[in-house]
Amino acid sequence: MSDTNLTPAPIDWMALLPIIGVTATGVIAMIIEMIRPRQTNNAIVWCCLIGLGVSAYFVLANWSRPAEETFGGLFMNDRFGQVTQLLLIGVAFITVLFSEGYLREKRVPFGEYYPLVLWSTVGGMIMVATRDLLILFLGLEVLSIALYVLAGLKSGEKRSQEAALKYFLLGAFASGFMLYGIALIYGATGTTHVTGIGELYALRETLVDRYPFNVLYAGIGMVTVGFAFKAALVPFHMWTPDVYHGAPTSVTGFMAAGSKIAAFAALIRFLDGAMDLSSVWLPVLTVLAVLTMFLGNLVALVQRDAKRILAYSSIAHAGYLLVAVIAYSKAQGMFDVEIGYGTVIYYLLAYGAMTLGSFAVLSLTARGGREGTLLEDFHGLWRRAPFPAAMMLIFMASLAGVPLTGGFVGKLLIFKDAIAVDMLWLALVLAVNSVISVFYYLRIVLAIVVREPDLHPTRFAAVNPGLFAACGICGFLLIWIAVAVDPFMKWISPPEQHAIELRESPPESSVE
């Protein structure tokens, strides 16, 4: 090795500031916990909220800069990454906002919770802002490893432990697949940057044998399996209901919203790189999408536990999102259709807001160290806590796709995209599934509003200001993005030359 190649690449610190900000906030929160371990977490919560706000400001400070790769091609600073980073910061913000009351009622207000949530967010932010598979893998692991711990936070409770162990074993198994796939892609192309795939494809005429392509196909397949695990697509969804059920409710909300946003954003980046081979993986993804939608919705119908219903509902929503991703990918290969990533981002935002909000309301059943999440446990929530119950109606309406909510507009956009790329049947599958889903969301609504409390008359925690604010923000967002669709879509879509660069920028090779 000659020495000149080891010169570090120039670093664009400005683009990295959001990630550094969230990381540093986590470190500060940990120091606060270290200095005063025997006091309430209020100081930590405030520190985290302020830090997340500052990091969001850093993202916006990068907003108008041109899209470019920095860090020697490891970090992509473009509008897509900025928007998804903003989404992840928002998810962490709301999670931190409503957690403290729940954790106290659950008797697990460990100070470690907050740094772990923030660092998990950092993992997601790294995932969405890179086009290098190795960095993507690192981000994924940072996201997941923190979540393994969070899932087992209530270490004395057997359900929580079991969830942590299941999540850990299956998650690590999936990472193994993903990593081996990355190694194969690296072997075929000689780089871990996703653009290498397209460049190898461009050389296909000049190659003597098919060897690198067979390795490449295997690699792409295994990476896709890894993504399918993380995004909970059928048939790789087995862990989802158990883990969502066993983990503390606030963690479940964060997991459902945050890790899905990160997984889908990273999936889009990966598929963008592998776009030339889309004839190979599009059919596979289509099958996965149909399976995911049907299984998620049908199994949710027979559940009796609210958390499990929402877990299966989140599987179904992963299916809807996958339809959006398929439409986006298919449009890239068609000359007359122009579909941006806007639909996916819109639906991710709507999904994040409604999922987090509904888990925040579910967390109200924790009281004195116990928690009941069966549907019967929610009887009479309407009387005890009118505001969260009212917000829950909005969340359920949005999840089911009732007009005037973000969920409805999101589904409409996906529907339109699917028709635009000649996949009417997939759009119809989506519509049928939305109808099926109404039934189980209706059961939750009935339990909250109509049924009278019989068995556990005083099982609800008092509504704390944090939870109040979290529900309010999520509810407001869902209505607002439904009303102001066009300004929002314009806001998140890239400037004109952005879109061109996203597809055509070459990978940065060595920096001299």
Partner: protein, 114 residues
């Protein structure tokens, strides 16, 4: 590097990976499952290193071979760090389960059903 062809390393990696994946599916003890996962990660490491050593790819004309070489080496160090973090977390979770119940057979972890 005369003598041993690339295919030998790749085959060893593939076999290790298959053994690991099979072990995860059929073994019942979480610690053994865990060891199998480590085996899978190490198979990926071996593949990375083998490819890094034989860094001739069709793209060698546009990508600096030195970059290719360093990427593979770097990947292994990163993966080792990830694996270590997973070991620490995994053992921590298993320890927490040890403390509160007698056995850790995954077939007996069946509170979550549905």
């Amino acid at each position: 590097m005369e003598g041993i062809p690339l295919a030998a390393y790749l085959s060893l990696g593939a076999v290790m990976f298959a053994i690991g994946a099979l072990g995860v599916v059929i073994r019942r003890n979480p610690i053994v499952i865990f060891m199998c996962i480590e085996l899978m990660l190490n198979a990926a490491n071996l593949t990375f290193l083998a490819f890094a050593r034989y860094h001739e790819t069709p793209l060698s004309r546009i990508i600096d071979p030195n970059d290719t070489y360093m990427t593979g080496q770097m990947a292994v160090i990163f993966v080792m760090a990830v694996a270590a973090a997973e070991v620490a977390i995994g053992l921590g979770i298993i320890m927490a389960i040890f403390r509160s119940r007698e056995e850790i057979d995954v077939d007996k972890l069946n509170l979550l059903r549905g």
